[in-house]
């Protein structure tokens, strides 16, 4: 059976969990440690914690908070938010994080991704790409929590990240954040075949069939979601949840396994570890 990773993304702001819609209107959804404990019990594949307050407020990661979260995580943990230097990354790895997620620093500190990858291996560096369409319908990359426009095209940006040594891309549609309306399949379709590294779809997941769609139609290697795993129902009542393995197998893994993709690609070798 083909398994894909299904990853909850938690947004932290000054030590509290929040969830946004289109990167705006943050709603308080609870305490991070409590949420991590619940996700632990639910045996999630992997967890991503993003401190959305760090970069906009020009703050370094809250290492003691991260250490506390990592101590409760018996699954892989990715952390992003305020990482500006190799020293920040090192401290995070020592705090128990498996992957550091770089967003704003890709632009502000070119060379950082390469630096971390060559020291800790590509598998430990993730580049997250937040994007939305401009007036002409072209997808452009944003940093600083969607506040700052870079003017760069998503595809070129992703290829540069791969070349620099990123082991994975989280592709996050700002316009679909918190909408439940489905992932941006068109963008995934254009991006995923061009990259050798895994792409994690993010933004817009509303039901399990969206996971399958992102992988079989979009070409994503893994899927992630925020609202879907912290809210229940149309009124967005806070309830930490995660589908059980039986449900995932039935709705996602088995249908994917039946497709039997056999296309082979000639790819260059550029990974470590």
């Amino acid at each position: 059976m083909r398994r894909i990773r299904v990853i909850p993304v938690l947004l932290m702001n000054q030590g509290k969990l929040e969830k946004t819609v289109k990167f705006k209107s943050p709603k308080y959804v609870g305490d991070p440690i409590n949420a991590v404990r619940i996700f632990n019990e639910k045996e999630v594949d992997e967890l991503v914690v993003l401190d959305i307050g760090a970069s906009p407020l020009k703050k370094a990661p809250d290492f003691s908070k991260v250490r506390e979260i990592a101590g409760e995580c018996f699954m892989p943990l990715g952390y992003g938010g305020g990482i500006k230097s190799l020293d920040h990354a090192s401290k995070l790895f020592h705090a128990g994080v498996e992957k550091v997620i770089i967003n704003t620093a890709v632009v502000e500190n070119p060379g950082l991704v390469e630096e971390i990858a060559s020291r800790y291996g590509s598998q430990s560096v993730v580049v997250s790409i937040d994007y939305k369409k401009d007036l002409f319908g072209k997808e452009k990359v944003y940093v600083k929590g969607g506040r700052k426009k870079t003017g760069k095209n998503v595809l070129e940006y992703a290829l540069e990240a791969e070349k620099a040594g990123a082991g994975e891309i989280i592709l996050n549609s700002i316009e679909r954040d918190g909408t439940f309306e489905s992932y941006d399949i068109e963008m995934l379709k254009r991006l995923c075949p061009k990259l050798n590294i895994p792409v994690v779809a993010c933004g817009g997941a509303g039901k399990l069939s969206h996971f399958k769609e992102a992988v079989s139609n979009g070409g994503a290697s893994a899927v992630s979601a925020g609202s879907l795993f912290v809210f229940k129902g149309i009124h967005r009542a806070v309830l930490i949840n995660y589908p059980d393995q039986k449900m995932l197998a039935e709705k996602v893994f088995m249908p994917l396994s039946k497709e039997g993709v056999t296309i082979k690609l000639n790819r260059t070798w550029n990974q470590q570890t």
Binding site: A70, F74, Q123, N196, V261, W269
Partner: protein, 215 residues
């Protein structure tokens, strides 16, 4: 006091292993001091990163003689995890370096020509394992265990009897080895919640049995 010695050779997320052992009620120390390591009753060789760099660190810290003594002479139980398992073999293509040589075989890159487009490298994510021989490590599982993997290289064993388990990523690759007291997993038990806890519990209790037997 009874504990597991986690070997710190400067690579990898050691805290994750200690966190899980703590949860399991097993005490452990993280150390890079050869004198402290010499007292180990059981050890875990962790590691994430570059093979050649890992071996270089082991040599530069003067750890090779003490590790050899523990594994080959005293025959204390050893569990290599991820890069730590790869280091058990004789040689790796990653950095063209020699390993500890405790398990006959080599570490090679994933063969890209055998992979379909959705088989990305690194092999990153959860996968089920196929057990190849009986082992205490895999005892007591009610269902096929799945574990978290992240690697771009994999081991190829010279001797089939050393292969404890395999997994499928495009093709069948060795993901666990066992030869007497020397064991290794390519996957990360410390990041594989209940399945990993079971394996680390088995590793810890296996050692206790050995101690009982030797009395």
């Amino acid at each position: 006091m009874e504990h597991i010695t986690i070997i710190d050779y400067g690579l990898g997320n050691l805290l994750s292993i200690q966190n899980m052992l703590k949860r399991l009620g097993v005490s452990s120390i993280i150390t890079s001091d050869p004198k402290e390591i010499a007292n180990a009753q059981k050890m875990i060789l962790p590691g994430v990163g570059h093979f050649a760099k890992g071996m270089e660190n082991i040599h530069s810290r003067g750890l090779k003689p003490v590790l050899d003594e523990l594994a080959l002479e005293q025959k204390i139980p050893v569990l290599g995890i991820c890069l730590g398992m790869q280091l058990l073999c004789e040689h790796s293509e990653e950095g063209d370096a020699d390993g500890l040589g405790w398990i006959k075989g080599n570490t090679v890159k994933f063969d890209m020509t055998k992979l379909a487009s959705h088989h990305k490298v690194p092999h990153m994510g959860w996968n089920e394992v196929i057990q190849k021989k009986p082992s205490n490590l895999f005892e007591g599982y009610a269902e096929v265990p799945r574990y978290y993997f992240v690697h771009s290289y994999h081991m190829v064993c010279d001797k089939e009897e050393d292969v404890l388990a395999t997994t499928m990523h495009g093709y069948e690759v060795v993901c666990a080895v066992e030869n007497g007291n020397i064991m290794g997993t390519q996957f990360h038990p410390e990041k594989s919640h209940r399945f990993g806890m079971k394996l680390l519990t088995n590793f810890s209790s296996k050692l206790q049995e050995k101690e009982v037997n030797s009395i």
